[in-house]
């Protein structure tokens, strides 16, 4: 009976103040919604172990992540083979390589797919049965075995129109290799990550007998009862053993941690470069949740302060402690449950949008890992339920504590300043400081990421992107083989195709220029240390590092670049013995300040026997890679691609008229020169540049939402807490004024206290922010502007919010006649 009275009473209180109820429910909904969304996102992408029917987590075994090239690194096949034999900690292990495969035979039918070359046990490892036919068998690895392929469901549907009789048919692979389709895998299966087709690795890679330079990634399951840390220790020991045995052969694969073999959960290994950013996101969202809790708790606390006389009467009438706590909790229960329901809707909507963003991001290259589809699952709902319980306790116990610890005798007598007590005053101070520091961290993080990604999106890469179309061209290996006896001629034959295509394109009215580079400016961005003759450093890492690209002759105009000094590549550089290089202006200025770069020599720093290259030209600066990525470089060197005979290259086409016409021209010209050449990833230059930061941009949109939410919560929370604090001290203000304090004195006193709280809150908040930024900055570059706005602008904004939030209510109370303030209840 008493329970129903309390519930009705709480419901009546909430319905009596619909504005208050709507505000608190929306704060809870936003806080919980963001938490639920972020948990679901990170659980799907990162935390929930990748597993199949047996529910055993799958791990990736590979070399440490290469942050300078933003790439995962394989390990030597023999080491995985030995590991499999030598350790009992790993229950099952398989290997794979990733690549691309052309299916089809002519330009019209040639399609490029992400292929995984796998050990045949992969199919048994996952336990996923083929939809049609079979997976791969151990005999498929053997030399002389028939070439076979297993198709993914989507490519089977799109390329073969879901032909039910596809198994057993022969399809041309990579231009002309006849390959038998032996199976089709079910929809959604793309293990290890992005596979659209599967082909067997050679037996020499799966079962190597000697240490050859063949490298693989590995997937593994641990034996029952073995923890990840145990496996890590075992791999560390194995790494040392291998290093002692083979030394220099694997030195280049050892990361800064000094390890060669690493084991990580499969999902984490796929997004190592974004791991810091995701963890930062998690921290920020957790802080927003705490901020929301404090805000709602404070609002409820303010309500109790308003109702303190009523509470005192209940205490005087002998209400049991538990009942009083429960009465205080009911309001929180209503608010948090309603907020939780809205949070589910908000999070579901956010996840739906996220899936669309993922699909759009990887639409061109299908590089989306197959588990990147996020949804609200039972784990997420369990987390929501636990969070709601936690929130009810935090937001409900704050007012309950207030209700239990007041001096109710004093309240009943008069409700003087003495009734508030030191504890309540301290609580208010802690609340204000908490609001400040949490707001500080969230706003700084959101700002730094937002400004940096905005800058990256609008960065000057040193090139012209307007009216430029980009595409990847890939030769059919069977048409352009590299044979040992005629290697140089074969490479020149490949290059000839590119120049023929360039001439064909430039003969058309709508095409102005054509450029070829291994990676175009704004993309790529792998860096390597280089040595300048006469300026060698003793330690490799003390040498400068640059991004290195292959470039065709006459590629600069099409990109809006200029030759500043020396010459372009020409026929001399196609010579087999030619070792010429073009450097960019920054290298010339920084290392050859007298303008005498031409004729000087440079070489790669990581190999003592690396050949020297003579600088023949200096070109204008460009930026390779995203300006947000740590591996990006401002120093660039260019090798002639003529005698490299590149199998695939990027092209940039400067056109007039429409982009559609330029696309058509590209396809027509390729058909004219060699119809077997594949054309992929055709897109505008702007779209190409945006690609490296698409995921970061998408996450920074989440940070934007976090920022907006945080700003709202911070502004409203700080105002509410500060106003509540001043409100509670109305009588004190009345006393001070009665005793003769001038208005300015009161305002100065309160502003001084607010300033002290600001300093404490901002100091802790800034320290936490810098720590979080340092975690993220190991893989990302933040612009200076973002630091200025984030680390200086946001604290100033918060300072303004706190001072205004203190000044306005203080001024309001000071304006009251002292007699009113003294009798304020």
């Amino acid at each position: 009976m008493s329970l129903s009275i309390d519930i009705k009473y709480a419901a009546r209180l909430l319905s009596k103040k619909p504005g208050f109820t709507a505000l608190t429910v929306s704060i809870v909904a936003v806080g919980l919604g963001l938490t639920l969304y972020t948990f679901s996102l990170l659980n799907g992408l990162l935390f929930k172990p990748l597993s199949f029917a047996d529910n055993k987590p799958i791990y990736a075994i590979e070399s440490p992540y290469d942050h300078t090239h933003l790439a995962r690194r394989e390990i030597m096949a023999i080491d995985i083979y030995n590991l499999k034999k030598d350790t009992s900690l790993i229950a099952d292990i398989g290997v794979y390589q990733e690549g691309t495969t052309f299916v089809g035979g002519t330009n019209d039918g040639l399609r490029k797919y992400n292929s995984s070359y796998v050990s045949a046990n992969m199919f048994g490892f996952t336990g996923v049965q083929a939809l049609h036919g079979r997976g791969l068998l151990p005999e498929d690895h053997l030399e002389g075995a028939e070439q076979v392929i297993v198709l993914g469901y989507d490519m089977w549907q799109s390329y073969f129109n879901g032909d039910p009789d596809i198994v057993g048919t022969i399809v041309p692979i990579d231009g002309s290799e006849p390959t038998r389709v032996v199976g089709v895998m079910p929809q959604g299966f793309a293990f290890p990550s992005i596979a659209e087709i599967w082909q067997p690795l050679p037996n020499s890679v799966v079962n190597p007998t000697t240490r050859e330079r063949s490298f693989v990634f590995a997937f593994a399951k641990l034996a029952d009862g073995v923890s990840l840390s145990q496996a890590r220790l075992a791999l560390d020991a194995k790494s040392k053993e291998i290093e002692a045995d083979v030394g220099d052969d694997i030195t280049w694969l050892i990361g800064p941690s000094g390890k060669y073999l690493t084991i990580e959960p499969m999902k984490k290994a796929n997004i190592t470069q974004y791991y810091g950013m995701f963890i930062a996101l998690l921290v920020v969202v957790f802080l927003i949740l705490v901020l929301a809790c404090i805000n709602v708790g404070n609002l409820l606390l303010a309500r109790v302060n308003e109702r303190i006389k009523e509470v005192a009467i209940r205490v005087a009438l002998g209400v049991p402690k538990q009942r009083l706590i429960l009465q205080m909790l009911w309001e929180s229960i209503f608010i948090c449950l309603l907020g939780g329901f809205l949070a589910v809707l908000l999070a579901g909507w956010g996840l739906e949008i996220t899936n669309q963003v993922f699909d759009n991001t990887y639409e061109v290259d299908n590089l989306k890992p197959f588990w990147w589809h996020v949804s609200l699952d039972s784990q997420a709902l369990l987390v929501l339920a636990l969070t709601i319980v936690g929130m009810i306790l935090v937001t409900g116990l704050m007012p309950a504590w207030r209700a239990l610890t007041g001096d109710f005798n004093a309240v009943l007598r008069d409700g003087t300043r003495g009734a508030l007590g030191k504890k309540a005053a301290k609580t208010t101070k802690v609340l204000v400081i908490s609001e400040i520091l949490l707001s500080c961290v969230v706003l700084i993080m959101a700002t730094v990421l937002l400004v940096s990604s905005y800058n990256a999106g609008n960065a000057d890469y040193g090139i012209e992107t307007e009216n430029r179309l980009t595409a990847q061209l890939q030769l059919a290996p069977s048409n352009y083989p590299i044979r040992p006896d005629t290697e140089h001629e074969d490479r020149l034959a490949r290059s000839k195709f590119y120049y023929d295509l360039k001439a064909e394109l430039e003969s058309r009215d709508n095409i102005i220029d054509v450029a070829y580079m291994s990676q175009l400016p704004g993309t790529g961005g792998g860096t390597s240390y280089f040595v300048i003759e006469g300026q060698e450093k003793e330690v490799i890492e003390e040498n400068p590092f640059s991004n290195n690209e292959g470039a065709a002759t006459d590629s600069w105009d099409a990109l809006g670049m200029q030759i500043i000094q020396g010459r372009d590549f020409d026929y001399r550089d196609a010579n087999q013995d030619a070792r010429s290089i073009i450097v960019n202006e920054s290298i010339s200025k920084d290392f050859f300040p007298n303008g005498d770069a031409i004729g000087k020599r440079v070489r790669r720093a990581n190999r003592d026997d690396a050949e020297w290259y003579t600088i023949v030209g200096v070109v204008s600066d460009t930026y390779h890679g995203s300006t947000m990525e740590f591996s990006s470089a401002a120093y660039n060197t260019y090798h002639s691609m003529d005698n490299a005979g590149m199998f695939r290259t990027m092209t940039a086409i400067h056109y007039t008229g429409s982009e559609a016409q330029a696309r058509q021209s590209l396809f027509d010209a390729v058909n004219t020169v060699d119809p077997d050449v594949g054309i992929f990833h055709v897109q505008s230059y702007d779209a190409l540049i945006a690609k490296p930061i698409l995921l970061i941009a998408a996450v920074s949109k989440i940070f934007l939402i976090c920022g907006v939410v945080a700003a709202f919560l911070a502004a409203s929370g700080i105002y509410a807490v500060a106003a509540n604090s001043v409100q509670q001290r109305t009588q004190e203000i009345g006393i001070r004024r009665a005793l003769g304090s001038p208005d300015k004195g009161i305002i100065r006193l309160f502003m001084g206290q607010a300033t002290w709280q600001l300093l404490v809150g901002l100091s802790i908040g800034l320290a936490m922010s810098i720590w979080l930024i340092s975690i993220m900055s190991s893989t990302m570059i933040f612009s200076q502007l973002s630091y200025i706005i984030g680390l200086a602008g946001m604290p100033l904004l918060i300072a303004a919010m706190v001072l205004i939030a203190t000044f306005i209510p203080t001024k309001k109370v000071v304006k009251m006649e002292p007699s009113n303030a003294l009798h304020h209840n």
Binding site: R736, L739, P742, P818
Partner: protein, 250 residues
């Protein structure tokens, strides 16, 4: 605009008028309702006088005290404090007079719980720029000595009984040596023993020359004043002297 000068700046005889209210009105507006808390109040308080204001609850006596103490402004009428027009004073001038010339004793003590006894007593002195720290310390000690609370200087209000808290409040009221002490039901929250003690304090202060104006419900307390006025429905309905001898200047 009136320029305020200290109300003590001229030597005035003990029977000179310190407070003079003429046709004072106070109206409260709540939505559309006008409440006349005080109506045509005329009152003169002489320096050194001990006046009590009595009347039933809600009659306007506390409102009258607030107006006397410059804690509130009147809706109409004239208020002269030591010959100066108090109605025309601005907020800062009113604050300065409250600080230097008026001492308040409230029914609910109104001590600040975060401050020690000494800090509470020192509080009004900290608003003065003419006092050094040493001066303030001496004045605080003197005031606490007078109310016999010096030994409790470092305690906090919550560690004191109601009677002790009120003694501290009296010490705070007299620490700045004000010309006028206003007490609003000073014994209202106290038992008879503590009430007696506080009234004795006020008697002592009066004997030392203080002008005291006290609102009270308690006839016994009212009887200790030289003069008692009775307020009813916002008007003074009686003004009588008691048999007490006039205060003697010290």
């Amino acid at each position: 605009m009136t320029t305020h000068t200290d109300i003590n700046e001229k030597e005035s005889p003990m029977n000179a008028s310190l407070v003079k209210l003429s046709n004072i009105k106070k109206v409260f507006y709540t939505d559309d309702v006008e409440t006349h808390a005080l109506n045509e109040i005329n009152l003169e308080i002489k320096k050194g006088e001990f006046l009590s204001i009595t009347g039933p609850s809600g009659c306007g006596k506390s409102t009258l005290l607030s107006l006397l103490g410059l804690l509130d402004t009147s809706t109409g009428g004239k208020y002269e404090l030591a010959g100066h027009d108090a109605v025309e004073l601005n907020r800062d001038e009113r604050a300065r007079i409250r600080n230097k010339e008026i001492g308040f004793v409230f029914q609910a003590f109104n001590l600040i719980s975060d401050m020690s006894v000494a800090e509470n007593v020192e509080l009004p002195l900290t608003y003065r720029s003419d006092l050094s720290k040493a001066d303030r310390k001496k004045m605080v000690d003197d005031a606490l000595e007078k109310v016999d609370m010096l030994h409790r200087a470092n305690h906090f209000p919550s560690q004191l009984s109601g009677g002790q808290q009120q003694r501290v409040a009296v010490a705070r009221a007299i620490s700045g040596k004000p010309s006028l002490i206003l007490a609003d039901e000073p014994t209202g929250n106290l038992d008879s023993k503590n009430a007696q003690s506080v009234m004795s304090l006020l008697d002592d202060l009066h004997e030392q020359g203080a002008t005291i104006c006290m609102v009270t419900h308690d006839p016994k307390s009212a009887a200790r004043a030289q003069r008692t006025i009775e307020v009813f429905d916002g008007k003074i309905v009686a003004d009588r002297s008691t048999d007490k001898a006039p205060a003697i200047a010290v």
